[in-house]
Symmetry: C2
Amino acid sequence: MPELYVALIHFPVVNKNGEVIASAVTNLDLHDISRSARTYGVQRYYVVTPLDDQQQFVGRLVDHWVTGSGAVYNPERRKALELVCIKSSLEEVRDDIHQVSGQYPHTIVTCARHCPRSIGYDQLKKNINSGGPHLLMFGTAWGLSGDFMDQADFVLDPVVGMTDYNHLSVRSAAAIILDRLVGR
Amino acid sequence: MPELYVALIHFPVVNKNGEVIASAVTNLDLHDISRSARTYGVQRYYVVTPLDDQQQFVGRLVDHWVTGSGAVYNPERRKALELVCIKSSLEEVRDDIHQVSGQYPHTIVTCARHCPRSIGYDQLKKNINSGGPHLLMFGTAWGLSGDFMDQADFVLDPVVGMTDYNHLSVRSAAAIILDRLVGR
C-alpha cells in the first residue's frame, strides 16, 4: 500500500479577490474527503487551520462520529472520520508524518490552473509507488496562496474534464485525484 | 461530445433499514454534482423528487444562482446550476430526454455493491461513445431501491479503491464515475 497522506488547507488560501485569508471549515469537506481517503487507503487526513474556534468545531464533529453517538449510529462513518488529524500548520503536519513514518514527506499541491512546473498523474503515481511518504495538499476557498504553492516539492496538473469549465468542488477534485493516483 | 445525462434520485431509495423512502434534497448535492456535470460535458442534471416542498427548495436555490444575485456574485456557479432540471419521476426524465434528443436514453444505475449483471467502466465508455443518449442515475440515502434498479438497462460496477471500504458520498462517487467514463 502506498504511503499517502492528505491535507486540506484553510490557511494560507486566497479569497475571490486574491487576498490571503483563513477560510472557515466546511462540514461536508470533513465527511466527504475522509470517506474518499478511507476508500483509497490514505494514512491520515489532516485538517489544517490556525484558528482555535475552527479547530474546536472540527474536534467536536470528529468526536461525535468517532467516540460519540454517531459511532453507534453509523460505524462506517467512524472508520472514515477517525483518519482526521487537526493541525495548525504545514510544519506540524510534516512533523507528525516524520514521527509516524520516520521520514519527512514529499509535498504535492493541487491547483485548478496549469502551472509551469506541474507534473502529470502518471509521473506522480510512479513517485508514490516508488516508496516514501507523500503528502497531497488541497486548498479551500479560491485556492492555496502562491507563496504556499512555491514551497511544495511538486504541483499536480489540474483535473481537466471534457470542457474548459474548471470549477470542481474540493470534495470532487480530491475524489477524482485519489482515484487517478491510487485507484485500482 | 458524448450525449450523457445525469439524474440524482430521491425516490424510490432505501433508508438504513432497507425501507423504501423519499429522501430530502441536500444543498451540496446540487452544487457539487452540477459542477462535476459541467466539467465533464453532461447535457442536463436531473434532480428527481416527487415531493412538492423539495422541488420548491431546489427551485429557489437554482433561481438564486442562475437568475438571482448569486449569478452576479459567481457566474461560474451559474454555468453549473443552470444544468439542473427538476423532475418528479424517471418517466418525466425519459420524456424530457426524448424531447431534447429525439430518442429515449439507455439507462444506467450506479450502486456501491457488486451486482450479478453489472458492467465495467471500459464497456460503458464504449457504449456511450458509440452514440445515443445515456442516462446515468445515482441514488441518495442508502441507495436506489431494488425494484428501481431492476428496471434499468445496465448496472455499473461499484467504484473500488485500495481497500474494502465502500462508503463514498454520492458527490464523490459521481465525480469519480464521470472522470472514468468521460474524462480525457
